[in-house]
Each structure stands twice: as C-alpha cells, then as structure tokens.
Symmetry: C2
Subunit: 449 residues, 2 copies
C-alpha cells in the first residue's frame, strides 16, 4: 500500500500544476507536455486496475479517459479542453494509425487465404448481420437522422476485436482448438471487411446524400481497389524496396522506413477519400516476414518489436482521448436506450454469425461468443464518424458517440467470463465427465508481459 501511495503522490505532483493555467513562453505550451504526461500515466494506471479486475487493459484506458474528461463536472476543465486541442487530436490519430499498422503486421495475406474456407462465412455473416441490426436499431431509435448516420452506427458493429478474445483463449489453453482458429481467422477477415464497410460508409457520409447505384458502385470499387492496389503494390514493390534498404546502414532505418511506408499508405488512402487507418492496415499487411527477411537477423517478429514500444506510447493517447470525449453530463434516456439496444444487437449479431461455420464437431455458440467484443475497432469507427461534419455538425453527435462507447464496453466486458464458461462446459460435455472443482473456477486473465 505504501508503494501505491507513492505512485499517487507522484501523480499528484505531476498533475496539479497542469490544472493551474500556465503561461507558455516558446514552443508548445507547458500544458501540452503535462497533459500528455497525465494521459500516459492515467492510461497505465487504468490499464493496471483493469488487469487486477480481470478485464482487458484497453477498458481501463477508456475508463481513465472518461474519468479525466468528466472532471469538468467538478469544475476541472483542463482535461476536457486538452481532449479538444488539435495537437492531442493529431497524436491520437497518429496512435491509431500505428495501432492498425501493428494489427496489419500480425496478419498476412497468405494466412487469410488459408483460413478463408472455414471462417469466410462466419466473417461475412459477422459483418452483414450486426450491420443490418445496427442500422435498424438506429433507424428506430434516432428517427429523422440522415441515412448516413444509421449506416455509420451499423458499421461500428461490424468489426471483431481479435486481441481480447485471443488473450482469453490463450489463458484457457484453447489455442489449438478448431473454434479458436475459426474465430481468429474470421476476426482477421472481419478487419478487412469492416475497413471496406467503413470506407464506403464514410465516403457516402461525406457526399452528404445517398449516392445512386452508379455512385455506390464507384465508392465500393474505390475501397476494394485501394486495398487490392496496396496489396499488389506491396507484393511487387516491397521486396525490392526492402532488399534495397537492407543495404542501408543508417541507424534506425528499419523503424523509420516501415513507419514511413505506413504513413505514406495512410496518406494515400486519405487522399482517395478513405480513412487513413485503411492504408495503415494495408501497409502492415504487406510487410510480412518475406519482405523483411533481407535484414538478416531481423524478421517480421523484430519489426513488431520495433513498432511495439512506439504503439505502447501513442495508442493509449487514442483510447484515453476517446474516453475524454464521452460527456457523461449529457446522458439522456434516449442515449441510454440506444446504448442498450446497440449492445443487444451487437451480441445477437455475432452469435448468429457463429452459425456460418463449416464442418462438424465445432461448437457454434463458442465461435459466436468469441466474436462479440468490438474493442478498439468500434471506437475507431465512432471517432471517424465524429470527425465527419455534415453542415457543420458532427455526423455522430455526443449522445450517439456515448452509446457506441458504452456498447463497446459492454461487449468487451461480457466476453471473457462468458467465453470461458462456454468452453469449460463444452469440454466437460465432450469428456462426458462431471464438472471438476478446477474447471468451475473462473478463468483469470493474465496480461502478457
């Protein structure tokens, strides 16, 4: 307890001056540095608390942000203002671009081709059903809103956050089960499908009105074309590019060039009217182990190791800022009803997707539960929607934004215990044995060091 008090003391030392209004001299103002420090430290304290409560770290970072941002209810406006500073907004966006790059690094095209036969239908159902249900819920509960908003709300329900499920499955020693492979495969395909949905939906939103069939075909073509183009470019240009860079001897060349590539594709995709994260994900996808092998000892594993610390520092800025944008003061019964409805359809939609699996002897419910958490990707989509202005008003206004964040939190919280319970039940049934005391114990989520 003494050490915890020391941490809190140190935090207070760091935070209190940032609450006084400071007069900057030159360069960025002191508040930015202190605010960033507070965000990073709060993020890790939140993540720590979440882990102790057997919850995913991202949930803690989100809650830390909600706490900081809503200190404004107690007269402390400094964090609310911080969240709306352009520098912090940029760093948050930078963080999420690098996060999607890291997610892309973890998946390869070859791997996706391999799991497609078994996971393909699960992934497609997992995008189409929640999207449709989400659209319907939004249509009913937000009457009179533009079509684009309903589409956007539907889109936030598409993606599966593979990270949370993967950790639970790992803790249960279930990594070699068929269900696990189907879930992880479907999650990766979901990422790609979700990004295409996001690209299409945000292009529609920015046009201001629903396009006709030709316009729609154009947007979908652009989204598919960009991803395909990035992948083809990657396959043909990247090996040469990295073979050439392997001869370079400048320090830090691998980190700088791979992140340079990520930012270039992010910029190109933004230029094409898609979200920057689409390009960042594509960059990660094409940088698989084949291309980085010319670096000798360096493998794709090392590339993740290089990108990892950078992501660990900038990605929390995104999650804390997302929490800061949740204005609890503006809670309405409408927003809560929307949050409840979205949470229900989010769960139901993915459970339905579980029935798309091929092959016998696979537990469909396990697969459905495994795909429930929305995690990072749903939040990213909500932020993209909040940044789109229609007639000067954010497409996703604060009430809807809060509902989406709550939906993400609910789906993320329910999954770990539910998935563990289901997997234990199935194994007991398969073994035909009575439940043992051991398998009744709730699973514990241990973080990866």
């Amino acid at each position: 307890m003494k050490s915890v008090r020391r941490v809190l003391l140190a935090l207070a030392v760091i935070c209190i001056p940032s609450m006084a209004s400071a007069s900057g001299g030159h360069g960025p103002s002191p508040e930015i540095w202190l605010g960033l420090a507070a965000i990073l430290i709060a993020a890790k304290l939140g993540a720590e608390l979440a882990i102790r409560l057997k919850q995913p770290p991202v949930l803690g970072e989100l809650c830390a942000g909600i706490v900081l941002g809503n200190l404004t209810l107690f007269g402390v406006d400094v964090f609310y203002e911080l969240a709306h500073k352009s520098t912090i907004e940029f760093l948050a966006e930078f963080g999420v671009v690098l996060l999607l790059f890291e997610v892309g690094l973890e998946s390869t095209v070859t791997e996706m081709k391999k799991v497609a036969p078994q996971s393909g239908m699960v992934a497609i159902l997992g995008v189409v059903v929640p999207m449709g249900l989400g659209y319907a819920a939004s249509y009913v509960l937000i009457p009179g809103a533009p079509q684009a908003l309903h589409l956007f709300v539907g889109a936030t329900l598409c993606a599966t956050s593979v990270g949370i499920t993967a950790r639970v499955l790992k803790d249960l020693n279930a990594m070699d089960k068929t269900e696990t492979k189907v879930i992880l495969g479907a999650a990766v395909i979901d990422d790609v499908l979700g990004l295409i949905v996001l690209a299409v939906v945000s292009a529609i939103a920015m046009q201001g009105s629903m396009p006709d069939a030709v316009g729609m075909a154009k947007i979908i073509g652009l989204a598919f074309g960009f991803l395909a183009g990035a992948l083809v470019l990657g396959m043909f240009v990247m090996p040469g590019f990295f073979k050439a860079s392997a001869k370079l001897r400048a320090p830090g060349v691998l980190a700088a060039l791979s992140i340079g590539l990520c930012l270039a594709l992010a910029g190109l995709s933004a230029l094409a009217g898609l979200a920057a994260i689409v390009g960042a994900f594509a960059a990660g996808l094409v940088l698989d182990e084949v291309h980085v092998q010319p670096f000798g000892k360096k493998s794709s594993h090392d590339l993740s190791e290089i990108v990892g610390p950078i992501v660990a520092v900038v990605a929390p800025i995104f999650f804390v800022r997302t929490g800061m944008m949740v204005e609890l003061g503006g809670i309405t019964s409408n927003a809560l009803m929307l949050a409840g409805a979205l949470s229900v359809v989010a769960v139901v939609g993915k459970l339905v997707a579980g029935w798309g699996v091929r092959g016998a002897g696979v537990d469909k419910l396990t697969i459905g539960i495994g795909m429930v958490p929305r995690g990072e990707v749903g939040l990213i989509f909500a932020n993209v929607g909040a940044a789109i202005k229609v007639n000067g008003v954010p497409l996703i206004e604060p009430g809807v934004y809060m509902a989406i964040v709550l939906m993400v939190m609910v789906t993320t919280i329910v999954t770990p215990p539910w998935l563990a319970a289901r997997i234990n039940k199935v194994s007991r049934q398969a073994a035909g044995a009575k439940p043992t005391a051991n398998s009744e114990a709730p699973p514990s989520i241990q973080p990866q060091a």
Copy 2:
C-alpha cells in the same frame, strides 16, 4: 544500381501525390501523413548518403531538409509549407524532447561526479570561451541587435555534441585513452552547463530587456534550482515510483511511464520558464540503472532500447525540419560572413578549452579538436531562439538561423578527419616510430547498427 533506382521509384510514388493539393475529408489532412512519410524517408536517405561519404548521419538528415525546404526555389512550396505547419512543429519538438531524454539516459550523476576533477575545467572553459567569442562576433557583425540575440548566438556555441566524437574515437580504437575519457566527460558536463546557459539566456530574451543584478540572480537560481530539484526529486521519488511500477502488469508500462515522466519534467521546466528539453534531459539523468533494476531483466540498457526506436522515428523530424527552415533564397553576404565568423570562433573556443585539462601526458590539442562538433545541441538552441518572439519578430531571424546551421555543419564536418589525423600523429610520436602505411589510411566512420 537497380535497387537504388527502385528506392527512388518508390519515393516518387510516395512524394508526387503529396505535391498535388489534396482535399481532406476528416481527421488530419492527407498532406500531413504524406509529408511525414516523405520526411522520414528523406531523412534516412540523407543519413545513408552521409554515411557513404564518411559523415555523421545527422548531417545527412539536415541536408535532406535543406533540399526539401528549398524546393520552393523551383516552385515546389509543399515542403516549405509543411515545415511551418503546427503539427510538424509539434512533432519536431516532441522528437527533440525525446532525444534529450535519450541523451540524459546515457549519462548518470555518479559518472559525472567521477570525471569532474579532470574534465571540469575543460568543460567550463568550453562553455565560457565560445560563449564570449560568439557574443563578440554577433555584437560586431549584427550591430544594433538586442543584447539577448548576442547572448543567444553565444549560447549556441556552448554545447559539445558527444555523439559524433564518440563514434570517431570508437572507430580509431581510442576509447581507453585518457583524452577520450576527458572529452566524453567534458561533453556530458557541457550538456548540463549548456542547458543552464540556454535556460538563463531564453529567460532573459523573453523578458524583453536585460534584467538587473537581482533579476539575473533570480533566473540563474531558477535554472540551477530546477535541475537540482529535478535531480533530488529523481533520487528520492524515482526509486519508489519505479519499484511500485515494477509491480504493474499492464503491457508497455515501462515505455509509457518513463516517457510520461520525461514529458512531465519537460512540462514543469516549460512552466518554470525554461526550455522543455532541460526537463527532458533531467528526466533521463535521474532514470539510471539503479531505478530501473526492479524491473528484473530490464536494465537501463533496456530502457534505451525501448526509447531508441521511438527516438529513431521522431528525432529525424526535428533535423529535417531544421534543414527545411534554412532559406537559401535569403542568403546575404552578411549572413555568410556571420556563418564564417561563428565557425572560426566555434573551433577556436573549443581548442582553447583543451588547455584546461589537468594531469601530464595528455594531448591538449586532441581534447580541443574532440570538443569542436556542435551537432544536435547547437541546432536545438537555434530553434529555441527562433521560437522566441520579441515584439512579434523571431529573436533569431532567418539570416542568423542559417548562419548558426552552417556553423554547426562546418564544425561537424571538420572534426572526424582532423581528430583522426591528430590521434594518429600523437601515437606515432609516442611510439617514436616512422608512420606506417596503415596509420596513414583515413579513418572510416562505420555506423552503429
């Protein structure tokens, strides 16, 4: 050659769209992503070219920036505009804060105490003499300018860039020579003294007029007090803080907390009216191996490894942007004369410092030459001065800025061959032998991987 062409081709693919004016939809504009990508890739190509020409990488990054920024002379304004965007300015500042943090990590208070007896006078002379000569040169060549400018120009001549010299000495297998220890010790002490000088000078500059004796004492007291306070805080609070954090299990906790600490101290020093880099350096200084040991396998070496990739990505943004700010179109004979004069006094000032060494059998000239390069720190000081506005005008205006950048380049270019020649000559004299073919060969600067 084919592979070089491929790199250039890939670069063209990346750069050309960024030159077209793009219309952003949501989030940061595509130009920012593309511009950042271009900066990172140009930085590494420049660093590579520098290494092939047996020059330090930082010189190449600087030149890459000068080329990009001055494309405006050929009608390409996109990079000039990029350099003046607030996001890029912030990232550059963020890069230099992390760079100084890394420099601080590499030195410890204990180590400084050990080298102080022998290197102390060298370090003090190396700050006072160049500062005085620089002040005089500025006073003569920029008549009518405010006192604060002369002081600032003098301050840019104080610091020694230990990185460049250390690499040359390592390549010559001279790391265990007494001269090497004196040079590196004096360079570390110079960093601290230089930062104090910078703090005092920028506080004076921001007051607008020369303070009286009491005001001066206050500023100097504040600068010393801050560094001392940070160090004391570090020694007493840090061990507890990190012992507590060692119990935290959130992923990326070490990277996020140490950078959080760096940003907190940077913010506090900015709040105290000092430059943010002063706090960042202090943070690095207090985070030595003792404090990070509770992390078990993690040592201070690992902390550098975690911070390294982040610095490799953000620090080049600072150097490329510094180059971009050099407006070759505005070269005047005055600016060139100032550049020449500053280069001469920069070299002379440090050669004089070499005579401050204690003990016999040490080559004073070797020590003087080893302390000539200004490298990063001179550039950082110039940027701090350019960011200070006096009556709405930058204290360091473009002509003076260019002169300082040229001075840094000259001192950085002359050192490696000169130092190698001197060390070879001294060893030949010591051995009493005739020069061998081998020792005549020019030293080659190999980058550290």
